[in-house]
Symmetry: C2
Subunit: 662 residues, 2 copies
């Protein structure tokens, strides 16, 4: 390292992930708040600025930083585009401000001397070199005043301490010995990456006639139903041709009958692979009609990307090198010993042709992106090489910064976090298996109050085609209502697999957390007229989410104490606490529960005082209550409602018009 | 990034500081325990090894890692030398172990087939390429067995699952597609860096005759006293010539009288600067006699490095460019407005000659290192450029890895931590200002149970020439005893400024935390016969520290609950919990306090059970008690003892010799 006169150090930049190894995530309309510790030796004051730019911009935009406390500095910027932004911090000794501070102290103690004013003259001279032209006159006048030995010293000193003088000096700071931090990256996604409500359905089960195979046009007819509930993402399981070899029958039975449709995840047949459409769903024109219809209904289509092949997939014949060969010459099917999944061939990421394989997989995404799709739910990414995903996601994100990728990885935390860090936009979570209050508090504190929130966007699902928990199997309607409210209020992104959810189907195959007569293996016919029992609750909750920015983000989250282990209380708030929502959920599906809160009023944007009055408006049943201070009584009966979703409003001060009371 | 078949990822290496930006610190005889998350996609098993080496070694030493839980792997190594060591982790898919695991499962479920054994043959063939010569026969035999289609399949499979077969395969793993982590650095210091007891005295106050100026030979006569108390570092304030211009008189009075010696920190006169010796202390021969005598007494000398100059320092005349020039042509003295310290000229790290200044300052260290000194207490490093320290400490540490630098920076936490990160071996702390139980618990958790412990070695001082807290001013003997026990047991490094400490001097200058008639400004004469009141306690405590490895480290530290806010309970333990010490301190200097513990038995190396019996042996008064479970009664009377220092011993099982009781 070289001998330097740079005395400023810059540390602990935020937001950052793994000390800057990965970009942090933000969405298009989020203010990006940056902080850093900027400090030097001794007692001199420092000044800091933030530089930021998009990938496409040649020049940095500069934003002055404000001093918070101790050595912490802050600035914010609004993203200028989708895609990568970088920022860095610059700091230097603020000689002028240091001199002003010390001069002020000396004048107050009456120990200022001529030499102190001479120092000011030096600083003004430095500022005059390359000063802003409009400031030149003011700086010269200040210099003359400071140098005027005929005038009283104190007056000359005071002249240098006015706001005008401070402005002149600050604007024309020559910035000596600037320290520049490392750069940090932010990946800016669409707002929908931050806030979305997903609805999953099986297209083949949307035919109006029982037993018929649904088409894209049948799905179009289902859109008013889905949009009517307030969802904005329509997610379809894989829409590709399904293999016949070793096809599974109903309830995952080995050996399908002639009419059994097979699992949509057993992708590929003579009719094509990952870029083809299952002929019974429709064709490219039908797919495009569906895309257009979604847009008309305020929905966006999400496709399922499952990188695995049935034995009939064209790649098996065309690229045997992409699969693992068994010693007996056959292709290795999926296994989780002792179980065998002979209808699935996993791809071999140890192939001798990684480039060919990776480009083909990327090409699948590119194909559907070219068709107009921008949202993909990725099946089991943790069974494919991370190196592949890191490359593929970066390539796709650079070309298509409006893309959203949802990672479906129910596995060990480090793997889930690795996938999120390397670029997946959203991620499924352990939500379905969190039941107790302490479990919720610990898990969501980890997701929202640690570095995890910088890169992992949680997407909560109470059910999926693979997950029907014992809680839903046994809990009855109150369980369905409770889990729905939890998923939709804990996280800004959530999803539901329907219509089995709103129909409250709860029967499982014996011994497993899986639906009986799973739609994965057979076509169903759903009668949705009249609308299912939970249709109204889901509609209401989605409307509450759309009306409340507090529920459209995850960063501002707090757990509140409530003296009952069956009652979970948490709040979410928009930036600047403009909109605050307090949720209280009864975790007991069979009994009424009551308790007294001990609210963290400051986190609710209220004065931290026992006398603070405020209104809580229950957005579910429209009731309003006047609360006071941290301790307030709540009760919930599962037969009536699973939760309170309170909009928290400071009590309006009573203003009397002239001449009368209100 | 290139297309790769490497599937393993390696993350979260420890120990690390700031994701590897700085080396972590260890001492020569500490086991370096390393961990990393090593994982891949899918369900294949991984294997990991640790590589480590010193700076001088060309080749890595390899250590197999053991799997802890989830994806965490562990290995350790013993440092081979002082100085920088680096380590890295390598991971790869363990094909053989994966195959063995799956084969075992399939055999148990009776679904293993010929193809599974064929896979084993492939793996053995891979192992045979480049195998260890002694293993060749065993591998061939295993291959033959697996391939022997005449033998029963299950037997052939079982042959591949024996320990011997596992060993053959593991030792000859071809290690395909290895992922190598980034390297991490460890700075290995002497054991004394981890565990030391410092005693500070003013040499000039060691003359046997009152009023005389002490010499190095007088200090030699003081060594039995210091060593007798059990200290192992003797730290002297600056031993250089003292300036006369603006010399301070007693109690920091402006204007010294003709006999006032001035502050040792006002360094430099016509008699020399930082590489010279104050003529009244002695000469180079005297200094070397002192060094030798220290060694004979089991002490090591530490010098004070204070990079500042009196106006009379030779550098002022020889290198005016190293000082800040005032606008009126004079040199800028130290200021903390409105205070002026005209006897001190700070160095200007914005000099136009940084290389000249930095080399000269490094040269000061090199001079005293050449004289035989290896320990330096650095005065106010936070008022000198961090860039300078980063360079200087790295240069010195590389040439002299046995050097110990103690940072005296009482300033903001981020500055203290920055100095430690960039290389200071030990650091003063906020100890003197921690009084309440909650303050202690929070501060020492921060120091010992966060990443801070990887780079910041705390050195606790209850007093210094600049610090006489109100607590000691007002608390009487119990306060002195309490603070001594706290400093000496909380941290493995501690120090005391004497003999004012053991004499319990407590009078301060009005309104400041500073000694009245401070030794900084005048010569004292200390009568140490008979030994001062605290001599025995200090001796006893230093002996306890030397007898107990638990107190010679800071990593294993735990706070224990005790139901009395005036009683602080904490434990320290050696690696592997061989030696465990539980300290209970009475923070009330005037009243007896009692309470019941709620011990974390596991952290004390005991079975976590209410019935666990163990002995606690109070090392201060030799009392022994039989305790049981987590809850035990303690009481402390400040008139008797400030604390219990309990050695915790599991109760020995009672073993009866043949024929009789014990």
């Amino acid at each position: 390292m070289s001998f330097t006169n740079r005395r400023v150090r810059i540390r602990n930049l935020t937001p950052e992930v793994d000390c800057g190894r990965w970009p942090a995530k933000r969405s298009r309309s989020e203010l990006v708040e940056c902080e850093a510790d900027v400090f030097a030796d001794s007692h001199d004051l420092v000044r800091a600025v933030l530089h930021w730019r998009t990938e496409d911009q040649r020049h940095w935009t500069e934003v002055p930083m404000t001093h918070l406390e101790q050595d912490r500095w802050h600035a914010s910027f609004r993203p200028a585009a989708l895609g990568l932004h970088t920022f860095r911090v610059l700091g230097w000794i603020d000689r002028a401000a240091t001199w002003q501070r010390d001069l002020r102290t000396k004048l107050e103690a009456d120990v200022a001397g001529e030499v102190d004013l001479l120092r000011g003259v030096e600083l003004v001279d430095d500022a005059l070199v390359d000063c802003h032209e409009p400031d030149q006159a003011g700086l010269r006048a200040l210099r003359d005043r400071l140098a005027d030995t005929h005038a009283p010293l104190a007056e000359r000193g005071e002249a240098a301490l006015t706001d005008a003088s401070t402005g002149l000096l600050a604007r024309n700071d020559p910035r000596v010995a600037v320290t520049t931090s490392e750069a940090r990256a932010i990946r800016v996604d669409r707002d929908k990456a931050r806030f979305s409500a997903w609805y999953e359905l099986f297209p083949r089960s949307t035919a109006p006639e029982p037993g018929a195979h649904g088409t894209f046009d049948d799905v179009i007819a289902r859109l008013p139903y889905v949009a009517g509930m307030g969802f904005d993402v329509l997610y379809l399981p894989p829409i590709h041709p399904i293999g016949t070899t070793h096809r599974k029958g109903p309830n995952n039975r080995a050996g399908a009958g002639p009419h059994d449709p097979g699992s949509p995840w057993a992708i590929g047949s003579t009719e094509g692979g990952h870029t083809a459409i299952h002929p019974r769903l429709g064709d490219r024109d039908g797919f495009r009609r569906l895309l257009d219809a979604c847009a008309e209904h305020g929905l966006e289509l999400a496709l399922d990307i499952a990188f695995q092949c049935s034995p009939d997939h064209p790649w098996v014949r065309e690229h045997p090198e992409w699969f693992r060969r068994r010693p007996d010459g056959g292709i290795q099917y999926a296994e989780n010993p002792p179980k065998k999944y002979q209808d699935i061939y996993p791809l071999d990421f140890e192939t001798r042709d990684p480039e060919g394989l990776w480009q083909a997989l990327r090409g699948v995404f590119e194909h559907w992106i070219a068709e107009g799709v921008r949202i993909f739910r990725v099946d089991n990414p943790h069974t494919k090489s991370f190196a592949f995903w890191e490359w593929c996601v970066a390539e796709l994100a650079r070309e298509h910064p409006d893309m959203i990728l949802l990672s479906e990885a129910f596995t060990r935390p480090i793997v889930m976090y690795e996938l999120a860090r390397l670029g997946f936009t959203q991620s499924y979570t352990y939500f379905a298996w969190r039941h107790r209050k302490d479990e919720f508090e610990a898990y969501y504190r980890e997701l929202f109050q640690t570095e995890v929130v910088e890169y992992f966007r949680a997407n909560s699902w109470p059910n999926t085609p693979d997950i029907l928990t014992g809680y839903l199997q046994d809990g009855g309607r109150p369980a369905f209502e409770q889990r729905l409210v939890l998923a939709a209020t804990l996280t800004a992104n959530y999803g539901v697999y329907g219509p089995v959810y709103e129909l409250m189907h709860h029967r499982a195959r014996p011994g497993v957390e899986e639906y009986l007569d799973n739609e994965k293996y057979e076509i169903h016919h759903w009668d949705l007229d009249p609308p299912p029992p939970l249709y109204d609750l889901i509609s209401r909750v989605n409307r509450i989410r759309r009306d409340h920015p507090a529920l459209q983000q995850d960063r501002n989250f707090e757990v509140h104490h409530i003296a009952n282990d069956e009652l979970l209380a948490f709040s979410k708030a928009s930036h600047d606490l403009d909109d605050v929502v307090l949720v209280v959920v009864n975790l007991d599906t069979s009994s009424r529960q009551a308790g007294v809160t001990r609210l963290d009023l400051a986190r609710l944007g209220l004065a931290d005082d026992a006398g603070t009055e405020f209104e809580v408006h229950d957005l579910l049943d429209d009731a309003r209550y006047l609360w006071r201070g941290p301790e307030n009584y709540v009760e919930l009966d599962p037969r009536t409602a699973p939760a309170h979703i309170f909009h928290v409003r400071p009590r309006q001060p009573h203003v009397s018009p002239a001449g009368g009371g209100g």
